[in-house]
Symmetry: C2
Subunit: 197 residues, 2 copies
């Protein structure tokens, strides 16, 4: 491939998540072909995000405002706090529009392998919020992995002397899930946790 | 998802080829998290491409120069012309470094379904090049699809009165290809075209 700037663009795009060199080449070619209509718009959109988006000082969400619209809204239930790993989880829950409380973003989960300790997570801020805000229920919506479970145990141990209801998300067969596509762990859990009709 | 600018960035990224909304969200989140290190660099790279890359007036390649380094090089064989569908094919052939001639990019192949006629392709320019340059061999490296075959037939019919050797790429089992993964068409072709040892 000739052309230094083209190669540089392919390399920059290839470093983004879910992309490799092959798809980076396809995207670069698309950008080159439609460059009058796409490149200036993409630059402007990136610049807008760079200039305007900040981190919410309360929950850790990204928005043009801090506090973010969720933390600032009087329509949300500020007594219920949902603890999540990352902003993508907030986006997923908000898309469904089913949750009416507020959030706290940890920024990760504890991990012995990756060396992530409580100090690396947004936990101090969580304890301050629990002191200062009138929170009555905490939902631990962390991933159903070993690290996620350990983090949930750690946080619930910090909360055990407080008068707060702590819950986690239900586990089992997902809606529309076919049994023969489920792993053994999920099947065992769904059997153990079976509900009487 | 809250934040107008974030949503706009997700939508812009999701329109790129090989990406959907889910991967666009992952990429946006990555850009937000590493924005100090990534976003200014990405904007600069896009701006460089936008400002500097042009289309080669001879072959249709993209480069910062026109004529492009391939057309301008005295180390290439300017008597051999490889006709390709798109710039990605040029990139693929150049990566291998096996071809030493020059290129002509058609910008597509004839297609009755998509309504692509000879006027939509870079064919007039091809005929002018054949008149003006001293071309002795043309390699039709177009895709091995029905539309590709039709385009090859069309171009070779235009060339039949000229003293030019016209060839197409060999077809058969790819290197490392396992027979039980090949489609019936390829197997039949590989059998019909078998080479005596």
């Amino acid at each position: 491939m000739s052309g230094f700037y083209i190669e540089q663009l392919v390399k920059t795009i290839a470093k983004l998540p879910s992309l490799g060199t092959r798809s980076a080449r396809r995207i670069t070619l698309h950008l080159l072909k439609k460059r009058e209509s796409i490149i200036p718009q993409l630059i402007q959109t990136l610049q807008n995000v760079y200039d305007n988006v900040k981190v919410c000082e309360i929950c850790g969400n990204y928005d043009v405002e801090s506090p973010c619209p969720i933390c600032a809204s009087s329509n949300r239930d500020h007594h219920t706090l949902c603890i999540i790993q990352d902003i993508s989880d907030l986006w997923a829950l908000e898309r469904g529009g089913l949750y009416k409380g507020v959030y706290h973003i940890l920024g990760g989960v504890l991990s012995a392998i990756e060396g992530i300790t409580p100090d690396d997570l947004n936990i101090d801020k969580l304890l301050t919020r629990i002191e200062q805000e009138d929170i009555t229920e905490i939902i631990l919506a962390l991933p159903a992995t070993v690290d996620g479970q350990i983090t949930m145990h750690y946080i619930s141990s910090l909360l055990k002397d407080k008068e707060i209801k702590v819950s986690t998300l239900a586990q089992g067969i997902p809606v529309g899930g076919e049994l023969d596509y489920m792993d053994d762990g999920t099947l065992k859990l769904a059997l153990d946790m079976r509900k009487q009709l």
